[in-house]
């Protein structure tokens, strides 16, 4: 019940954010695997940190600055994104991502408490630019599987992968 309230709260919170060029966010009640109960503070922190990671992801891919990823991404996710940024920079292109909506659901909380898996049905616009020249724009609707692991003061994205719906 409390998670439903949390979900509703998140929707409200982020729906108001949409007015300020923020994506709309809908958090669905968890459909959990795993024996560990998920506290509402943990769920809220994971959602908050994930949405913040999108902002850093957008900025890093747009500005080709891998260092911007550091506070929010770790492990495979950080390595792959940083590698893509390096390739973009080498090709002289950059990518502007604008996420429009997220539908989030937590699906796994590992019994040791050291990983949380989330599904994000996301819609975003992807615009590839060669310096200031727009090469292409695409509206993308896909599903991300996200694995987050705790760092010292926040959850960081460790797996960030678009998968077939």
């Amino acid at each position: 019940m409390s998670l439903r309230i949390l979900a509703a709260g998140c929707v409200l919170l982020f729906a108001t954010g949409a007015l300020a060029d923020q994506p709309s966010v809908q958090v669905q009640p968890p459909d959990l695997q795993g024996s560990r109960p998920l506290e509402k503070q943990t769920a809220a922190a994971v959602v908050r940190d994930y949405l913040e990671s999108w902002q850093k992801f957008r900025a890093a891919l747009d500005q080709n600055q891998a260092a911007l990823l550091d506070p929010d991404f770790v492990g495979t996710a950080r390595t792959k994104l940083a590698s893509a940024i390096g390739e973009q920079a080498k090709l002289g292109i950059h990518t502007h991502y604008q996420d429009e909506s997220h539908k989030l659901q937590i699906v796994f909380y590992s019994p040791d408490g050291l990983s949380i898996q989330m599904i994000d049905n996301v819609e975003y616009d992807q615009q590839v630019l060669d310096r200031d020249r727009v090469l292409a724009t695409q509206h993308v609707k896909t599903r991300y599987v996200v694995v987050m692991t705790p760092a010292e003061v926040r959850w960081k994205v460790r797996v960030f992968e678009a998968t077939p719906e």
């Binding site: 891919l61 390595t79 292109i93 040791d112 599904i119 090469l135 695409q138 896909t142």
Partner: protein, 265 residues
């Protein structure tokens, strides 16, 4: 440009193109960005291993000032290559129900999470007693289980296996709290040597050396205490020898027996 709807990570594929003249093909996604010079009208070949990160990509052909684009989805390779096996705890008391848990994330050779369901087998085998095994099918690329710890102490192998790939963790199954803690005393010069019997847990496992045993001697309103580590299965200490003193023992929250020196037990 005619794009395949999906390609498998790391596989070779080609993109047929139409028209004529030179152009540039970009394949851009969050995890990878590729560029190929192409001659329009000829197919563009992407070699095996060139596009290996799963995800949504935007493919763009740029010829002069015009461009066309399309979506391309790269899916993980179907065969597992790496298992991220989170097994905890590294030490677990013996005889604990669901005391050991493991979660496995299954990745392909390019560190893409394989989200198609597949069976993962877990097996816990200790130095003594039967092994415990179970098979779990992954959901969104992850499978997990919980297993009881054995009743005998020792190192247990916790193995996760999927698609022929196995990963092993070692779990130390350690004794529980001391059980039936008893002491005895003998005079040792002017002192009293107090020592425990062999310190065991309730399953008969010896309590590891270094575990603290607290001796307390009360005599005539004065108290003498010492926190003594177990060495070679027993703990011992020299205490003042007062006739009529009571000496008790405890370890953590477990209390042992009490003896009276000079006044019988």
């Amino acid at each position: 440009m005619t794009l395949p709807q999906t390609v498998t990570a790391g596989s070779a594929f080609s993109v047929p193109t139409s028209g004529s003249g030179p152009a540039v093909l970009y394949i851009v996604g969050p995890d990878q960005a590729l560029r190929r010079d192409v001659q329009l009208g000829n197919p563009v070949s992407i070699a095996a291993g060139d596009l290996y990160n799963a995800g949504e990509y935007l493919a763009i052909i740029v010829a002069g000032s015009s461009s066309s684009s399309g979506e391309l989805e790269v899916t993980p390779a179907p065969h597992p290559d790496t298992l991220s096996f989170l097994a905890t705890p590294s030490r677990v008391p013996v005889g604990l129900h669901n005391g050991i848990n493991g979660a496995v994330y299954v990745f392909d050779a390019y560190h893409n999470l394989i989200v198609t369901p597949m069976p993962v087998s877990f097996e816990l085998s200790g130095s003594s007693g039967p092994s415990q095994a179970r098979t779990i099918t992954t959901s969104h690329g992850v499978a997990w289980t919980e297993i009881d710890s054995a009743s005998k102490q020792g190192s247990a192998k916790f193995i996760a296996q999927a698609g022929g790939i196995a990963t092993t963790r070692v779990i130390d199954e350690v004794p529980g709290d001391p059980c039936g803690l008893t002491i005895s005393a003998q005079p040792d010069g002017a002192k009293l040597r107090v020592q425990t019997a062999l310190v065991r847990d309730c399953s008969g496992n010896p309590i590891p050396d270094g575990t603290i045993v607290t001796f307390t001697e009360n005599y005539n309103g004065a108290q003498t205490t010492a926190d003594v580590p177990i060495k070679k299965d027993i703990a011992q200490i020299d205490m003042p020898a007062y006739s009529g003193a009571t000496i008790s023992v405890a370890s953590g929250v477990v209390a042992g027996n009490e003896i009276r020196w000079g006044g019988g037990r």
